[in-house]
């Protein structure tokens, strides 16, 4: 369901070229809970954004779901693909400050026929019922991340790309988030980027990312 073939990404910073991804190839399938581990600046985020159709690689092809190369699509088609097939979870949550919990989750469910019911189910599943009408500024970090996970799940994607989703969380909240991702993973793919040495328990495939090189352990 995810196919990367010789994906490279080079940046130019201050006139010198930086290789963020170096000829990365991988095949990921339904049920894969993938951990991308590496230090900051190793290329994990670049890889997630590239798979998510947010950052065009310098070379190589990225296939998601039935699409052979998502960068061969136009902007609109790629946006549609993201809306239907990909969910993002960020370390800093990126919640919309003027929307309440329900509204933030509904953002992810905008392509669904009856988002209200689905949003309610996600709110209950991530134990946010008592926070339904609260704004992000009224939530704890753990609650914010649970909202972000619910938003990513709301579109019922095939893939969830999670960039350090537990980086700012205590153990209890980290566990809730990872449990929710693992539950999703039964029917999809989770790519989880972390710089932590500790590997989440549900991970069934792990990759080390260093200097733009990605190697499966």
């Amino acid at each position: 369901m995810i196919r990367l073939r010789d994906v490279s990404k080079q940046y130019s910073i201050g006139g010198s070229a930086v290789t963020a991804l170096d000829a990365v190839s991988m095949d990921l399938n339904q049920g894969d809970f993938v951990c991308l581990r590496g230090p900051s600046g190793s290329g994990k985020t670049t890889l997630l954004l590239t798979i998510g159709g947010m950052q065009r690689p310098t070379s190589g092809t990225v296939g998601v779901a039935e699409t052979e190369d998502i960068y061969a699509l136009g902007d609109r088609a790629r946006a549609r693909l993201r809306a239907h097939h990909i969910g993002f979870v960020f370390q800093l949550f990126h919640l919309v400050p003027y929307l309440n919990v329900s509204g933030n989750i509904a953002l992810g469910a905008r392509n669904r026929g009856n988002p209200g019911e689905h949003v309610d189910a996600l709110i209950d599943r991530l134990r946010l019922g008592h926070r339904r009408y609260h704004k992000p500024t009224q939530l704890s970090a753990g609650e914010c991340q649970r909202v972000a996970v619910a938003r990513a799940l709301a579109s019922q994607p095939d893939v969830i790309l999670a960039d350090e989703p537990t980086g700012n969380l205590d153990d209890e909240n980290a566990s809730i988030v990872i449990d929710a991702l693992a539950e999703f993973c039964r029917g999809g793919i989770v790519l989880l980027a972390t710089h932590s040495e500790r590997e989440p328990e549900y991970v069934n495939r792990a990759f080390d990312v260093s200097g733009g090189l990605v190697k499966e352990r």
């Binding site: 985020t45 947010m54 902007d75 549609r80 993002f88 990126h94 003027y98 953002l107 905008r110 988002p115």
Partner: protein, 381 residues
């Protein structure tokens, strides 16, 4: 969640930037509305003031001794009274407010005064305007302040002028000019008094050219008039004509400048506020991209916001501007206050134009939002 709901939530959630933007557009709409509503009164007032400067065009018989004309203030020659009818019958002329005048000197007792007969005011075809000079009724006269003082005449007195019994209908205040020694009557009465039946010695008018930079207005007017009245000479009171033209043009230019300045400042303000808003929402826009919102949706967020602000500002601004014009306009334009009236069409123009204006002012921020690299924003963690 629909774009419109997102926009409304954002406006409600970020009240300060919303209110500041709405305030700018509302103020611009209110200013433009009150300006437009009072402009008619302003123009009328300006015209009125300029008209009060007096006639600036004098048509006298061609044989007039100009020394006499300038020394006494009137022509020593006469022309037929129907000259006015001929002039007033010609279409597309550059003058208006035509009046026949018969001037002469007259002795009343041992005093010498100026006697002036005025006809009804006439206008060329299709250009009728409220008269500038109110005609004196038959058998009545208006007298200057010195005449009243020296003759000890007052309003209502019946007096004898060269054997003609006339009633004083008005004693004019001191004008500081030859008007103070003038007796003004109807043209027919003055013709009888002076023994010049069906004769006039001048046609007065106001030119309507208002200075054309390429042409000489005097040449144009002289050509127009002498075509109809070949035996006449046209004297233009250049100072009055120029003052009149310049004042009207200055007033027009000022009106245009104020409206353009207000619109420009409001556009700049709305644009800057939209830019601040877009920068403030950089990570939010990045997130929307990640959630699958396309360029159109992102542009719609910025432009839709501007359109909503414009719509709200149009409603409040026209109401506020109309209220200001109706409340404060009459104290500014006291004579022409009746010209200040609410204009419902202005409201519909504002409803159409203001959202477009606000959206146009937000085009650059919208373009920045669309072209912003979401990956770069989202990786700033």
């Amino acid at each position: 969640m629909t774009i419109i709901r997102l926009i409304c939530s954002e406006l409600y959630g970020r009240k300060t930037t919303f209110l500041l933007s709405a305030l700018a557009v509302t103020a611009a709409v209110a200013l433009c509305t009150s300006f437009v509503l009072t402009e008619a009164a302003n123009q009328r007032e300006t015209k009125r003031l300029m008209r009060d400067l007096g006639f600036n065009l004098r048509v006298v018989p061609a044989a007039t001794d100009m020394n006499h004309f300038y020394l006494t203030g009137f022509s020593d020659q006469t022309m037929p009274e129907d000259s006015l009818d001929r002039l007033a019958a010609v279409k597309n002329l550059s003058y208006n407010h035509l009046v026949s005048v018969l001037h002469g000197k007259i002795e009343v007792g041992d005093r010498e005064f100026l006697l002036l007969g005025l006809s009804e005011e006439r206008a060329p075809p299709g250009r009728a305007k409220p008269p500038m000079v109110k005609a004196v009724e038959s058998s009545q006269i208006h007298i200057g302040s010195e005449v009243a003082k020296q003759m000890q005449w007052k309003k209502g007195d019946k007096v004898d002028v060269n054997g003609h019994p006339l009633q004083i209908a008005r004693c004019m205040p001191e004008m500081g000019s030859t008007d103070d020694v003038r007796i003004v009557g109807s043209l027919s009465d003055v013709q009888k008094i002076l023994g010049l039946n069906n004769q006039i010695n001048e046609i007065k008018a106001i030119d309507c050219l208002c200075l054309t930079p390429a042409d000489n207005p005097q040449d144009i007017l002289k050509a127009e008039i002498t075509r109809t009245l070949p035996d006449t000479r046209v004297v233009m009171l250049s100072n009055i004509a120029e003052a009149r033209a310049r004042q009207r043009q200055t007033s027009d230019r000022h009106a245009k400048f104020v409206v353009v300045a207000v619109i420009f400042v409001a556009a700049a303000w709305v644009g800057v506020m939209a830019l601040i808003n877009t920068r403030q929402r950089a990570s939010e826009i990045g997130l929307f991209r990640a959630l699958g919102y396309g360029s159109l949706s992102v542009a719609g967020l910025v432009l839709g916001r501007a359109v909503l602000i414009g719509l709200l500002a149009a409603i409040i601004g026209t109401a506020l501007g109309t209220w200001c014009a109706m409340t404060y306009g009459p104290s500014i334009f006291q004579v022409t206050a009746r010209a200040i009236q609410p204009q419902p069409t202005l409201f519909w123009y504002a409803i159409l134009a203001t959202p477009l204006f606000a959206a146009a002012a937000s085009l650059i921020p919208a373009a920045l939002a669309v072209t912003q690299d979401p990956a770069q924003v989202l990786r700033r963690q």
